[in-house]
Amino acid sequence: MAAQGEAGQVNTAARRGALTLPLAIAAFLAAALAWMGLEQFVNALTLGAIYALIALGYTMVYGIIELINFAHGDVFMVSTFVTMFVSSTLLGQKSAIQDLPLLGASLLITFALTIAFMAVVGAVIERFAYRPLRRAPKLAPLITAIGVSFILQNIIQYLVGPYGYNVPQLFPNTWAVDLEGVRVPLLNIFIIAVSVSLMIALQLFISRTRTGRAMRTTSMDRDASAIMGVNIDRTIMVTFLIGSGLAGAAGVIHGLYYGNTNFQVGYQAGLKSFTAAVLGGIGNTAGAALGGFLIAFIEVAAVVLGFSRWGGAVVFSLLVVFLVFRPTGLLGSHTGDRA
């Protein structure tokens, strides 16, 4: 299969040097495009954008406090409902907006409010569920996170009921461009553009700002950073703010793209995004983005090959295989101690 062969290439490329990695990705994308066709290629990129945004939250939190934030998938799930609430109830928009300025303003407000709200939710969870266990043995916060995940699912189930809901698809899906005879919806291009800009913004934030530097030092050595004057609690909280905010963005995109949601979307999406984070090398933000797209390509490949029902099993088997043979992932460099 093309996807797996190329994954091997990316793998060796990561060891050789910085320059070969973009080349390997380009080769992979070209091969995938040639094999699955433009339409499926764009689908995979769009799906990958969602996975990548969620995976970033997993990888950032793991990088800084070594916690698999099990509730993160459900934070994403909550955000799909916040999106629904903001666009249909607050803005009163039930369907696609053809007017460009109005569409722009509505999208901006939806993104801003959802991201802000989810960021706060993430920070609150961190403050009350995880911070008290900061010095506790490792399994304790993980079990807590599972509990938080169940609580989030059931708050939503209680508030809205166990049904599927329609989310207003503000972006008109009739808009499309014609590329060599293939109709590519503008929505997909918009989604990919938004998520890639968010990822670039995140990279810049982490590499260029003081807070970003604090995040990096805290993940390397928390105690040493504290001695050097980094406010650990604040830095960890900012990590949760950003990670949950990105999940919020993914929730808005999910709403725009699929137009529906239910209280269980978080579990599968979360699991696949976590797999993406592991594939890319957990703790590595660029790796999480890469892993998100890779998982999406594998899933779409499963659909193209005609065994979409097995897509989940393929992804999780891949997770097991990857964890066993290369637990550091494609780009991961920091290997934690065993157990």
């Binding site: 070594e66 304790a140 097995w310």
Partner: protein
């Protein structure tokens, strides 16, 4: 406080009996389970309980609670003894159930008897436990949790899609009920034969697990849980030891799974979702990780609260016709219950309601569970 920590410590048996049971501890376990087995149906006759539902319905509920107790005790071997977090435990439960269902149902027209399959189901689950564990047990703790979670997903997906062997989404129905002369007829009307059988199985599980805990293998598990590096340097083969924990845990789930299939006479992929793994984990956490009796009680409490207490709340508020509260479906809250149990227990009392005797550093650095415990 000490009475709360060790509720059974106050219980005193007559001296000769106590001395006898001190020498034959496995017999003591069997006797205790038999006593509880007699006491529970009697208790269900007493007013507050007897008014809620019939004794047969209670017995049925106790039977299912005992299945969960076996699951919790099995998971406790993995999580409580060896300190390995297994989030896909329901998969082994499913494997046991399907192993029996495939060979004792109209699907292939086979009628393999129940009793050998009880052992075979346990062995098959154990084999899968080893197959999953062998490559993955070298991983660090939280990665292992995710691998087992993935396994817990793969098994139902496979059961769902391999429909030629598993009946797909409908599952396998019409599974043979057990038969044993002298125990009465196993049927849907009469819960008593199942009740006696499940208690016997529970007794076997508790005796085996208790004896394992006190054996060389059990001490190795504890050593690994407390400090893997130190355990390894003391000459324990940690990989083999962890594999043993995984295999024993899986075997118990398979064992319970065969009974579960024979009791319900139907298995389907939806029965073995992530919720089962989490509710079992909640029982283990609630009861006190590492304590066999505690997690068994935890399972009983969790199951009885969700299946009877919440249901009765519904009926009660329906009857009094309170404006807002009558509209609430309390059964919806069972999953919140798992979440709240997990979060609150970890934050407030990580060692569980009824903690293990030996101090568990893994879960309570700050709170030595039972300071005065003698060993």
């Amino acid at each position: 406080m000490s009475a709360l920590r060790r509720p059974l410590a106050r219980l005193r048996l007559p001296a000769p009996l106590a001395a006898y049971f001190a020498r034959h501890r496995s017999l003591a376990i069997v006797a205790a389970i038999a006593a509880i087995g007699v006491a529970l149906p009697l208790l269900s006759l007493v007013p507050p309980f007897g008014l809620l539902q019939s004794t047969n319905a209670w017995t049925n509920a106790f039977t299912i609670a005992a299945i969960y107790a076996m699951l919790a005790i099995g998971l406790n071997v993995v999580v409580g003894f060896a300190g390995l977090l297994d989030l896909g435990y329901a998969a082994f439960f499913a494997l046991g159930g399907y192993a029996y269902a495939v060979v004792a149902s109209p699907l292939f027209g086979l009628d393999v008897p129940f009793w050998p399959m009880l052992i075979a189901g346990a062995v098959i689950a154990a084999i899968f436990g080893v197959l999953l564990g062998a490559p993955t047990l070298r991983l660090r703790g939280d990665y292992l949790a995710i691998v087992t979670l993935g396994f817990g997903e793969i098994v139902p997906i496979t059961l769902l899609n391999a429909d030629r062997f598993t009946g797909g989404v409908i599952g396998i129905g019409g599974i043979d009920r057990p038969a044993l002369p002298g125990l009465g007829v196993f049927s849907i009307i009469d819960p008593w034969p199942y009740y006696v059988l499940v208690l016997s199985m529970l007794a076997i599980v508790v005796v085996v697990v208790k004896r394992l805990e006190e054996s060389r293998v059990g001490r190795a598990w504890e050593a690994i849980r407390e400090d893997e590096l130190a355990a390894e340097s003391s000459g324990i083969n940690t990989v083999v030891s962890k594999l043993q924990a995984f295999a024993v845990g899986a075997a118990i789930a398979g064992f319970a799974g065969v009974f579960n299939a024979a009791k319900l006479t139907i298995v389907s992929p939806q029965q073995f979702g992530f919720v089962v793994s989490v509710s079992t984990l909640s029982a283990v956490v609630l009861g006190g990780m590492g304590n066999v009796v505690g997690v068994g009680i935890g399972a009983f409490v969790i199951y009885l609260v969700q299946s009877i207490f919440l249901k009765q709340l519904n009926i009660l508020f329906d009857q009094i016709q309170l404006p807002i509260i009558s509209g609430i479906d309390f059964l919806q809250f069972q999953y919140v219950l798992y979440g709240v149990v997990l979060v609150l227990m970890m934050l407030k009392r990580p060692q569980g309601i009824y903690p293990a005797r030996r101090r568990m550093r893994t879960f309570s650095d700050a709170a030595p569970a039972a300071k005065g415990a003698k060993r």
